[in-house]
Symmetry: C2
Subunit: 309 residues, 2 copies
């Protein structure tokens, strides 16, 4: 069976910028790639949002932190504590900018916490687009953003799956396990005696691999669209509207129009914006300004899921 | 006018123990004493709960932290950050066990935060019941609990207000401002010529002062009831039920029955229990076990307010 539509799904846990509001939590996204869950940023209350939206804690083995500002990070320590209390044994991989090791190790020592699982810290420091995780189903890259402190974006590229055997062909051609393996990898079978079972005739191609890019706190810069070229879904922060473009420059943030410019220049399929300043009671104006540049834009909301591909 | 019923009001922001659930947040209480707000413990998500229950950030000038376990503390740094972003200028007083200064100052330096307001840290270290705040309307004491790390309870005692002048008496006796001052303080007036205006005849007594005690994480110990003797409202943690009394001993916590025993022995008027282990889906059994010992017990819920007195 081909994987269903749900195989690459993004859930938004928080859409506020530094100051949360009564209905906006700080940044946290969960990307579900074939039931591997990747947590991206971890603002205060992330674990509460995970419970609210029924994200399975045990499925998270990788956490990516874009930068060490509190609204992207303050949920991490409580989450580590909860993993520990829940008896976690599986290693947890944490990707975050330097000096994350120092911060985390001092925290564990200050609070006298003995983790019952291995915490594998991958410190991000490169100024190039870098492959940081290469897993059976997905490759993850990080790339530098431009903010007041080192900040990184993340790109998740699904790997191309094997071809899918048409079930009734297995009996019809009496396919062996070994033959099925070859066919799924796209190879034709030539049996003793010369019978040919062509891959094309007994398999269907897998769905096209999809991709998601996460652009956290950043000022606009033209090279950014190169890093996220052609992704199916782009998340880009949009802290401000046109009315506060000067503030965006000053604070190292983007306007909704900046985000849409990246989406347009990169030729992405869809743009989701978030990280809204508390001064915007609704994100309507930000969505509207972005759509003037890139129509396939949506303002994120807590709890919304996007099925990619 | 005498102060209304709302002058001493406790609002519960969180009732979970270390592991929050989908409907329980970690410990945080707000005590409103004549519109001075005292925040007591500050688990993750406290600021979100404050927004949800319309607690005015600007009214909080004093924060009390019972002990330095994350579920009582992890909301503090994000709250400080929000105060700063909101442009706070008023000094903020923080009362917490040692080594709170080290933790907070390292945090501010790690995250390169310049607070725009004065943070006055009062480190708690005494093993006696100690007056830590003496304000116009309330006295606050801290007293030692027994937990795995130093942990403190807090006692808030309203001060007796002045007597209230019966308004029509002002005209009837042509009372001067100075005379009113004397009468409110309970003194009779003897005018030149010998006319006596008795305090009893022109004033009514103020409401009886009320008191609230907060007993955070602690094992049961008999002296605890002395610290909270006769309070109007007692909050006491009740992490476990009778079924896990051994675990309560082992982890330095109380059962609901322990909490009720303190309430009964201290002769308090009402007991509220909280800090429920995630293993109890509802607090019904904990409430029931406590009521077997002390009938005026209620299990706390997020957002519930108790008007004291």
């Amino acid at each position: 069976m081909p994987d269903g539509d749900m195989s690459f799904r993004l859930t938004i846990l928080g859409t506020s910028s530094a100051l949360p509001t009564s209905d906006r939590y700080p940044t946290a996204h969960v990307l579900n790639v074939h039931e591997r869950l990747f947590l991206i940023d971890c603002g205060e209350g992330t674990q509460m949002q995970m419970r609210r939206y029924r994200i399975r804690f045990g499925r998270i083995n990788h956490i990516f932190i874009s930068h060490l500002h509190g609204d992207h990070f303050f949920g991490l320590y409580p989450l580590l504590s909860s993993f520990n209390l829940m008896g976690r044994k599986t290693p947890l991989h944490l990707y975050a900018p330097e000096p994350v090791e120092d911060l985390v190790s001092r925290h564990l020592s200050d609070f006298d916490i003995n983790l019952g699982f291995e915490l594998v810290i991958h410190a991000l420091g490169s100024r190039e687009c870098t492959l940081i995780l290469n897993d059976k189903r997905v490759e993850v890259f990080c790339f530098p953003l431009r903010h007041r402190i080192p900040s990184y974006g993340f790109l998740f590229r699904e790997k191309r799956a094997e071809r899918n055997i048409i079930p009734e062909m297995i009996g019809k051609h009496s396919l062996s396990i070994a033959e099925i393996g070859h066919l799924k990898r796209g190879e034709d079978i030539v049996r003793e005696g010369g019978e040919v079972v062509s891959c094309e005739s007994v398999t269907i191609p897998p769905p096209e691999p999809v991709s998601y890019a996460f652009c956290s706190d950043t000022a606009w810069f033209p090279e950014l669209s190169e890093y996220v070229r052609g992704v199916d879904l782009l998340y880009h922060e949009a802290t401000f509207g046109d009315d506060n473009e000067d503030l965006a420059h000053k604070t190292g943030h983007s306007t909704a129009r900046h985000a849409a410019t990246v989406a347009r220049d990169a030729g992405v399929k869809k743009l989701v914006i978030g990280h809204f300043s508390a001064r915007y009671k609704t994100a309507d104006i930000l969505e509207e300004e972005a759509r003037q540049v890139f129509s396939a834009t949506e303002a994120a909301r807590e709890g919304t899921s996007y099925i990619v591909g």
